[in-house]
């Protein structure tokens, strides 16, 4: 039997089974169990209506329980056990965790993941906001939007191939076929090279450090100079933001200093994905490229929802376009920005395919999801694999709680 025909038959059986369940279970409920006729028609209709929601929900609930809820607890259990030879498991407590914490590869994955968590949502949101604002003001905006949105449809693996071509390297005596190396070889160490490859990036890094410091100060200030009572629950969060900011500023300043002192190897084609630390950014660009479209679509809808009269009032007051954007529009869509940010954060935490296809965690580009895959399916160590999965779960938990809290608030 040809694979196409086999596929078709399985499709029909699978989908038919699903449709059949809903149709026949309702038929059974209405015609056999509580028929809407006879002496008890009224009572029967009421009873049928009490049962029907659960009939509708049943397949979904079963699937959700087995495929998402149960694995969370099972993974937790597995992370605390280890397989013994010959089958079965033994309880080992936190052994897997302490073994994992002793591995440098884990810390590399974790710190890379932190970098991803900051850079990708920040850049995607920023570019998305920029694209949304710009495209709303021009006539070909819709076309521009759909072109920027397009990478959303491309698989991570497809995107990996696309960007591998961009980063491709040929030996020095051949013509470069990767765009990045072709551009890189156009710089030859003259004043333009210094301007574009040293001064501009250093200014960007310093600007980034400054922006981080500003954000951190907003969070820390109430602790230093309490203007009023500081909400007790927010202190750990504020300290966490502060610590993260210090680390970020340090990283940015170190990179700026490194860039200022380093002798760039002009004229040498670079294998971009093997340059430690910086190769992380070359991988992140791929995800930023994909996620910007998502951020743009959501933010564009939010920007359109900004009440027209607030903008008109600002214009009457003599605000320039930049002031209107940053002081009138952005504050009003702050809620949406947070939503976009957290959604992309979750995507980042799950990012696996890009790293798997492009570098497979070599050259210090490991991330947690790929580390976990390595442990589970290459090292076949379910204990440590589950432990690293729990770390990912731990990192999403704050967002999970925040989302549930917001959803409940909205429903009330």
């Amino acid at each position: 039997m040809s694979p196409a025909l086999q596929g078709l038959i399985t499709i029909i059986i699978g989908v038919g089974g699903c449709v059949g369940y809903f149709y026949f279970s309702n038929l059974f409920l209405d015609k056999v169990l509580y028929p809407a006729s006879g002496p008890n028609a009224g009572r029967n209709i009421n009873r049928a209506n009490m049962i029907r929601p659960w009939l509708f929900l049943m397949p979904a609930l079963i699937a959700l329980t087995i495929y998402l809820a149960y694995p969370v607890f099972e993974t937790l259990r597995l992370s605390l056990t280890q397989r013994v030879a010959g089958g079965g498991y033994e309880w080992v407590g936190f052994d897997n965790y302490s073994k994992m914490f002793a591995e440098p590869k884990f810390w590399e994955a974790l710190s890379n993941n932190m970098l991803w968590l900051i850079v990708v949502p920040a850049l995607s949101t920023a570019f998305g906001l920029l694209a949304a604002q710009l495209s709303d003001r021009i006539r070909w905006g819709n076309l521009a939007k759909s072109l920027i949105f397009m990478p959303m449809a491309i698989s991570f693996v497809g995107a990996a191939v696309i960007w591998k071509l961009v980063y491709d390297t040929r030996p020095v005596d051949q013509e470069q076929i990767g765009v990045l190396n072709a551009v890189w070889l156009a710089f030859e160490g003259g004043p333009m090279s210094v301007l574009f490859l040293k001064i501009v990036p250093i200014l960007l890094l310093l600007g980034f450090a400054g922006a981080v410091a500003l954000v951190a100060w907003v969070f820390i200030r109430p602790l230093v100079k309490p203007a009023g009572p500081v909400g007790g629950g927010t202190v750990p969060l504020r300290l966490l933001v502060g610590a993260a900011a210090v680390w970020l500023i340090f990283t940015a300043l170190r990179s700026a200093f490194g860039l200022a002192t380093v002798d760039l190897p002009y004229g040498q084609p670079q294998t971009w994905l093997t340059i430690p630390f910086w190769n992380n950014f070359f991988l992140m660009i791929v995800l930023v490229w994909i996620q910007t479209g998502f951020a743009m679509v959501i933010l564009s809808a939010a920007l359109r929802g900004v009440p027209e009269d607030t903008i008109e009032a600002a214009i009457v007051d003599g605000a320039n376009p930049f002031q209107i954007f940053f002081k009138i529009k952005v504050p009003q869509i702050m809620g949406t920005i947070v939503v976009v940010w957290t959604t992309i954060t979750i995507v980042v935490l799950k990012v696996f395919d890009i790293v798997f296809a492009m570098s497979n965690g070599q050259w210090e580009t490991q991330v947690l999801a790929n580390y976990m895959y390595d442990k589970l399916f290459r090292a076949n160590d379910w204990g440590i694999g589950s432990a690293s999965a729990m770390i990912i779960m731990l990192l999403v938990t704050p967002i999970l709680i925040w989302n549930v809290y917001n959803a409940r608030k909205e429903m009330r």
Binding site: L57, A60, L165, A369, A407
Partner: protein
């Protein structure tokens, strides 16, 4: 909106230019892959894809004169062509590597002993000798030719329709379809009924269920890999399509239910009544409502991890396109004509769906992001 008060903004040009730059940056990488998939291996490895779009003047690899010797008017003549392409034109040629551009097209070069060689602008050459050149070493021709853009469909032919090709994508394409279609339809059906119940039916525990679904929305599917693989092995499904469909259904459900519920709650009932009065059948209304869920198709089509864990066994019979591409990246890392074509075949279907359903996808995204 600066026009509100009648002031034309000087920023308009800046806006147009920055938007154009942004769009170009976003389009450029995909365009590179697209163009590369229509070039031959030689073309890809000898020049960047961006230069293939315009006429290129470059050196053609040296070619040794070869062909049938014909006797014409007492001279022995060999005729041939430097290249197959009929629209390329030679700008200079020579017979030694030290002077590859010694002669103009059409000029006659004397190679000594009365042997002459001429190369016409269209790449046809004529070697003429007073004695037979059979058995002797014939001269090489170096040439510089301007080649207009030239593209081929051979890559697609080789990868899609050549059953001998081990790198072929035809099987993987059908496998992907076999995974995708049920893994799109089943979750949408299940989610539609669940969302209907959550949006329009009243029953105890509804709010709690919705909160639980919002929570499950962010649970990383990485957590589910090992427990579910264990489960599948225990109940005898093992690795195969059934397990993959179930896994996709489970992982896709939270978002599908949440999105559909939001969407349905936002639909006033009278809109549906109106549609019915206008003659839309229940099925048509249902299709309209679930169209934003077409992202489930994109997601299952593009997936790698779920197939890797739940579908592909050691025989590799059930490989999907994403997995095949990752393998090609490993074994054919430098063969861009294979990689680019394979990747473009895999992304062309989602791109088509994307451009056809864009309106609904945007609607889905807007309804599906947690507010």
């Amino acid at each position: 909106m600066d026009n509100v008060v009648g002031k034309k903004s000087g920023l308009t040009w800046a806006v147009h230019i920055s938007m154009a730059v942004l769009v170009a940056l976003w389009l450029f990488p995909t365009l590179g892959l697209f163009v590369s998939s229509f070039r031959t291996a030689d073309q890809i490895s000898s020049s960047g894809w961006w230069s293939s779009l315009s006429t290129q003047e470059r050196q053609v690899p040296a070619i040794r004169v070869a062909g049938e010797e014909v006797e014409v008017d007492g001279r022995f003549v060999i005729e041939g062509r430097l290249f197959e392409a009929t629209n390329a034109s030679v700008s200079a040629w020579g017979t030694s590597s030290t002077a590859p551009e010694a002669n103009a097209p059409g000029a006659v070069a004397d190679l000594g002993d009365g042997v002459t060689l001429t190369v016409a602008e269209d790449g046809a050459y004529v070697l003429s000798s007073p004695v037979s050149t059979e058995g002797t070493r014939l001269p090489r021709i170096f040439s510089t030719a301007a080649t207009p853009p030239e593209f081929t469909l051979d890559n697609y032919r080789a990868i899609l329709f050549d059953p001998e090709n081990v790198d072929g994508m035809a099987k993987a394409f059908f496998n992907t379809l076999t995974v995708t279609i049920p893994a799109t339809i089943i979750p949408i059906l299940v989610a539609a009924f669940a969302a209907y119940a959550l949006a329009w039916m009243d029953f105890p525990g509804r709010a709690l269920l919705i909160a639980a679904i919002v929570g499950l929305l962010v649970v990383p599917l990485q957590l589910a890999l090992i427990p579910l693989l264990k489960l599948h092995n225990d109940i005898g499904i093992g690795k195969g399509y059934l397990g993959t469909w179930l896994a996709h259904t489970g992982f896709g459900l939270p978002l599908a239910i949440y999105l559909l519920r939001n969407y349905m709650v936002g639909l006033p009932r009278d809109i549906i009544e109106c549609a019915k009065v206008d003659g839309a059948s229940d099925f048509q209304i249902f299709i309209k409502i679930i169209l934003p869920l077409s992202f489930q198709f994109l997601w299952t089509w593009n997936d790698l991890l779920v197939s890797l864990v739940f579908l592909i066994d050691s025989t590799g019979e059930t490989t999907v396109m994403t997995k095949q591409i990752v393998e090609l990246l490993g074994t054919r890392g430098g063969n861009w004509e294979i990689l680019a074509t394979a990747a473009f075949i895999s992304i062309s279907v989602p791109l088509l769906v994307f451009f056809a359903m864009q309106k609904y996808l945007v609607r889905g995204l807007l309804a599906g992001s947690v507010k």
